[in-house]
């Protein structure tokens, strides 16, 4: 791990990253089905190769059971690899990452339903190392860690329900680790016609010796960042990838395990400040590039999608053409890292529309609440499931109008909007038995209209 200091920044103007020389890095991979006798089909897939845009490394973790998951992850990897082969050096790395993953999503989605209840799907994490740095994109709970000197930090933040709960302060790190639903991811390839791909806004700079570790949750569930740091700093990438997988297997290997270890021998054009690699304690950073992260938990289940709620959908901005509700946003996606005391995401438009909006909003919400209230009144008798959710309005006017807050488990899609062909609303992504649909409370106290001062 020497910083030879001879690497000079390229004299080229900043631009999209020229591919690195093959000698500028070293990459190794290992994938293994794990030790669960019921999971001897390896649904993970990995890939690494030089492309016209830089060195591409990908890990996909398929789901959907046996052949379905395996087919999904392999198809995703192939689609991404093919798209990178087609790219030219003038293409924007981030755009190609996004496009290739969107194509992978479409390809996996086109596989259709493996069973009436489950579609095959896949996570993906992909990085491209070019002279400009390392670009990163992901969907789901497959991860990238960056090892720099004697520290390790997560680069990606899982698209999982428990991650969001940790971010929101609902669960602690420790609670999340043992949460029975830690396996629920909120985004995956193949679940809908469109997917929201998280592409890091800037390429990560690197210094000689910096190492990027891509892995599926079969590894990150069982091998802590500190273990990864220890292994990666002691051996060549191929050897390290093998040791990581062996360690996960030694700890139970409850799921398919994949690790790709990519080490740079040179610096990116925007160099990192050199670090003293030989002193000080090893550090394990749990914060992903400015956002909190939680190591994925050791659980015994395979990854499943969070329960979708059929309903009106908000197609992604780029969505085109008619979509089934199921396809556009039944599958929740996470907002970019917001912590509870969230700061400045105020979408305040200009004044006049705001006022009109306020009035309409009042009207809308009132009706919504009324409908909601009626709904719950009707349903109250039928529900027996636990938590009671009370939504209590503060004193304030509640006029009448035309919107509704849809109750969560109005399973038959009663909402306006495109109606899916029969049966398709029920075809979520869960690959294991899931409680029917959300269970919002036996009795929800609907807001009472309150006399007040508001106009």
């Amino acid at each position: 791990m020497t910083d030879d200091g001879r690497t000079q920044p390229s004299p080229q103007p900043p631009g999209e990253g020229a591919a690195l020389a093959a000698s500028s890095l070293d990459c190794g991979m290992r994938t293994h089905p794990g030790r669960d006798p019921e999971k001897q089909v390896n649904e993970d897939a990995g890939f690494h190769r030089m492309t016209p845009l830089g060195y591409l490394a990908v890990v996909c973790d398929g789901m959907g059971g046996h052949a379905g998951g395996q087919e999904a992850s392999n198809l995703a990897v192939e689609t991404i690899a093919r798209e990178f082969e087609r790219a030219g050096p003038q293409d924007d790395v981030k755009e190609v990452l996004r496009r290739s993953i969107e194509l992978a999503n479409a390809a996996v989605h086109a596989l259709g339903h493996a069973t009436p209840r489950a579609r095959p799907g896949s996570t993906v994490v992909a990085i491209v190392a070019s002279e400009a740095g390392v670009d990163v994109a992901h969907v789901g709970d497959s991860r990238v860690y960056r090892v720099h000197g004697t520290s390790i930090e997560p680069v990606t933040r899982d698209h999982s329900a428990v991650q969001q709960l940790v971010d929101a302060g609902v669960l602690t790190y420790e609670q999340a680790k043992v949460h029975p639903e830690a396996n629920k991811i909120t985004r995956a390839l193949g679940m809908a016609e469109n997917v929201e791909v998280e592409v890091a806004r800037t390429a990560l700079p690197y210094a000689p010796g910096d190492t990027f570790v891509l892995c599926s949750d079969g590894l990150s569930d069982l091998v802590e960042p500190r273990d990864i740091l220890g292994i990666v700093t002691q051996g060549a990438p191929q050897q390290a990838a093998g040791q990581l997988v062996e360690l996960a297997n030694a700890r139970g290997g409850h799921d398919n395990i994949t690790a790709v270890v990519l080490r740079l021998r040179v610096s990116s054009r925007r160099d990192l400040a050199p670090t003293a690699v030989d002193e000080g304690p090893r550090t394990v950073v749990h914060t992903a590039v400015g956002t909190p992260i939680m190591p994925k938990v050791s659980g015994v289940r395979e990854t499943v999608m969070m329960t979708p709620v059929p309903g009106p959908s908000v197609p992604p901005a780029q969505a085109s053409g008619p979509q089934l509700p199921l396809d556009s946003s039944s599958y929740p996606s996470l907002a970019p890292s917001r912590r509870p005391p969230a700061t400045t995401h105020s979408g305040a438009p200009s004044r006049a529309p705001l006022l009109i909006g306020l009035v309409l909003g009042l009207l809308g919400v009132a009706t919504a609440l009324y409908v909601f209230y009626r709904y719950w009144q009707e349903r109250a008798g039928e529900h027996r499931v636990a938590p009671t959710v009370t939504i209590a309005p503060p004193p304030g006017p509640v006029p009448a109008s035309s919107a509704e807050v849809r109750p969560p488990d109005a399973v038959p899609n009663t909402a306006p909007g495109p109606t899916p062909p029969a049966g398709s609303t029920a075809a979520p992504v869960t690959t294991e038995d899931d409680p029917p649909l959300p269970t919002l409370a036996p009795h929800t106290t609907a807001p009472r209209p309150h006399p007040s001062h508001h106009p």
Binding site: P332, S333, H345, A368, V405, R406
Partner: protein, 59 residues
């Protein structure tokens, strides 16, 4: 005015809300949430649809 302002559900032991591209927005804990995205609504936190604010409790 959108026909459906927002959707609520219970999952993973928490209440979640998704704004359905409402004109007036949905806020959790004072922060406006992006449309089409599930956001957790922690127990005891404020949930605002347009101008009307609620407090959510889970018992």
């Amino acid at each position: 005015m959108s026909g459906v302002h927002a959707t609520l559900k219970m999952d993973v032991g928490s209440v979640w809300v998704r704004d359905e591209s409402s004109n007036n927005g949905t806020w959790v804990q004072g922060a406006r949430i992006a449309p089409g995205v599930w956001n957790v609504v922690p127990a005891g936190s404020s949930l605002r649809f347009g101008p009307v604010e609620f407090t959510v409790t889970v018992e």
